[in-house]
């Protein structure tokens, strides 16, 4: 049973030719999409969904014939929720000359990536929400959702004008997401004349929120501004209800997120949040997406999956605006663009891309009622 190496080599090359043959008949080149995401480490909660959202978007676009005849091919890279690794994988991605970069989500990783994609002139559409990300003046960096600078002010107005809170307690998770939100909230609250009496830092993965709650209870604030991840929100709110506390709960989009509602087992009722597009948004397109995603990945998509999905639509619209699939002109084409679902179903709701890379696709003032997120007010793109 000895096969000479030369025969083996010939066999292999024949196979390779056969395998690549269909590609030769394809009319147009495949657009390579690099997807750096937090697939392991503490950010896996968001990164995995982001990647799945992007992948699903790519499939949907390819099923409709791709973008201007180009099929898309996505390659995911694990940043391990670690900027140093993120820097490595984005370099790997850029070495492969991708058409665009979709991701990552965590601020640190975005900041590291953004410097390199900008230098390479590659458009990066990412999932980060921290306020500082688009403040750097990077012309090739885009968000897929409202930033904190867009979502926090409506909540401050709500606390001031609707709750008429005389005193507010703030609870935030002390990581890049929560701290950035807290800093913004504290500054804006001060400007608005809101009286924040307690400001409590918590840890991601904190076992119990009892001390935090007791502190809030002792401070007797009218309202609590809660800025934390879904599972910590759930822990906080369960304790809050059990202790029979009465303060109004107002918080970041996670407070009224489907995952937090599910985990808190009813305790989230009454919580108010201002959120960009999320899985609880009462849009038929979104709800249809949620169903399809759940069927495909056997897990509930949060806003990160939706953001990833919409990122593909932004790509589509950008290329169409350019008139051809060119990586260089993509970013310029995206600035100032308005993307509508009638032309780009993946965008699901109209989105305006602003000059600094922020986007505006509207948001909802939401209240959790009976285990469901109910829209109090829709604020469309300005």
């Amino acid at each position: 049973m000895r096969i000479s190496t030369s025969k083996l080599a010939i066999g292999c090359s024949l196979l390779a030719v056969l395998a690549t043959a269909p590609a030769a008949f394809a009319a147009k080149s495949v657009l390579e999409i690099a997807i750096p995401a937090e697939l392991s480490g503490s950010g896996a909660t968001v990164g995995v969904l982001w990647r799945d959202g992007v992948m699903m978007g790519i499939e949907d676009v390819n099923a409709k014939g791709g973008i201007r005849g180009h099929k898309l091919h996505g390659t995911a890279y694990d940043t391990q929720t670690n900027p140093a690794v993120s820097r490595a994988v984005i370099q790997k991605a850029l070495d492969g000359k991708p058409f665009a970069v979709l991701g990552p989500v965590y601020s640190g990783s975005v900041i590291v990536d953004e410097a390199l994609t900008q230098k390479a002139g590659i458009t990066e559409i990412m999932g980060g929400e921290a306020g500082n990300l688009t403040a750097q003046g990077d012309p090739t960096l885009f968000r897929t959702s409202l930033g904190q600078a867009q979502t926090i002010p409506p909540l401050i107005s709500y606390l001031k004008d609707t709750v008429h809170a005389k005193s507010v307690g703030a609870s935030y998770v002390n990581d890049d997401f929560g701290k950035a939100g807290n800093v913004l909230f504290m500054a804006d609250a001060k400007k608005a004349g809101l009286n924040v009496t307690t400001d409590i830092s918590s840890e991601a993965g904190q076992v119990t929120f009892q001390p935090d709650l007791l502190k809030m209870q002792a401070a007797k604030t009218d309202a609590i501004f809660l800025y934390d991840h879904e599972e910590e929100v759930a822990r906080f709110l369960k304790g809050f209800r059990q202790m029979g506390m009465k303060a109004a709960i107002v918080g970041g989009s996670t407070v009224a997120d489907a995952q937090a509602i599910k985990l808190s087992q009813g305790a989230a009722d009454g919580a108010i949040s201002f959120a960009g597009i999320a899985s609880s948004s009462p849009l038929p397109a979104i709800q249809n997406f949620v169903k399809r995603f759940e069927a495909k990945y056997k897990t509930h998509p949060d806003h990160n999956a939706i953001k990833g999905y919409m990122a593909v639509a932004m790509l589509q619209a950008g290329v169409d605006k350019e008139g051809k699939a060119s990586a260089k002109g993509l970013a310029a084409a995206l600035h100032g663009l308005t993307i509508t679902p009638d032309k780009y179903p993946l965008i699901m709701t109209p989105m305006k891309v602003l000059a600094n890379g922020d986007i505006d696709n509207g948001g909802y003032l939401i209240q959790v009622k009976g285990g469901k997120a109910v829209v109090l007010k829709y604020v469309g793109p300005k």
Partner: protein, 289 residues
Amino acid sequence: MSLFVQVLISGLAIGAIYALIATGFSLLSQGSQTVNFAQGDFVVVPAFVILAANSYGLPIWASFIVALVVAALVLGILFKRLMVDPILPHGAMQLSIATMALSIVLQNGMLNADGAQAFPFPGINGGMHFGTIFIDWQSVSILLAAVAAVVALNLFMGRTRIGRAIQASAQGPQVARLLGINVARMVTITFVLNAALVTLAALLVSPIYLVKFDNGIGIGLAAFSAAIIGGFNQVRGAVVGGLLLGVVQNFAATFGPTQYRDAVPMLLLIIFILFRPQGLLGRAEERRV
């Protein structure tokens, strides 16, 4: 005053869980010099098993029994056979490092199998107000169950033949062998006991903590600290250490700077190791010469 009592009670409840996990941790280190850095992840594994069994329609108590069996087999016997037995001869530190690797394996295994999302876990709702003090049934049940488990364990260790044989094996394997005790089997039982303790801890902590692939990190750190504070070589010490840690942590988070709340157990740990390495209840060990 009511704040004080409230902080104390919730501290005891969370401390009781630390105590359970720390007790298992001490058992292993006593019985087989296994310092298990994956102990926190050992709590998350049975939590997922309970959820899985529950999702197939089993009631929670039956799911718990399924998890007990799975944990005893995988986290008890397999862990001992496949990791501890081959690596311990190379050194206790080598084994500890291997458990760090095991922690990576378990966390990423759960991440791949169950996803990155947290899962809700059935628990006991409600509670009662005593004046201004509120006591929730979940905390009460945790305290009761943990205390019952530890008392039962102590009775088992002190009053039964097997229990005494386990203690003898841990204290002096050679002597125990001379007395005709099957030391290897006693060590295996220790591992199974640890598996049972973490499974119980999973049942108790998950309603509060939820179930997520990386939950073991925080809870494991707390359990190590509790074990050392109480006294590494004393099973009873782990209980006192756990309760003390839970209470101190709660008080620090309530009255201290919250940004540094995680520093408190660490400071406690450092102080104990440096100034009372035998822990609160532990016997002074002969210094290594």
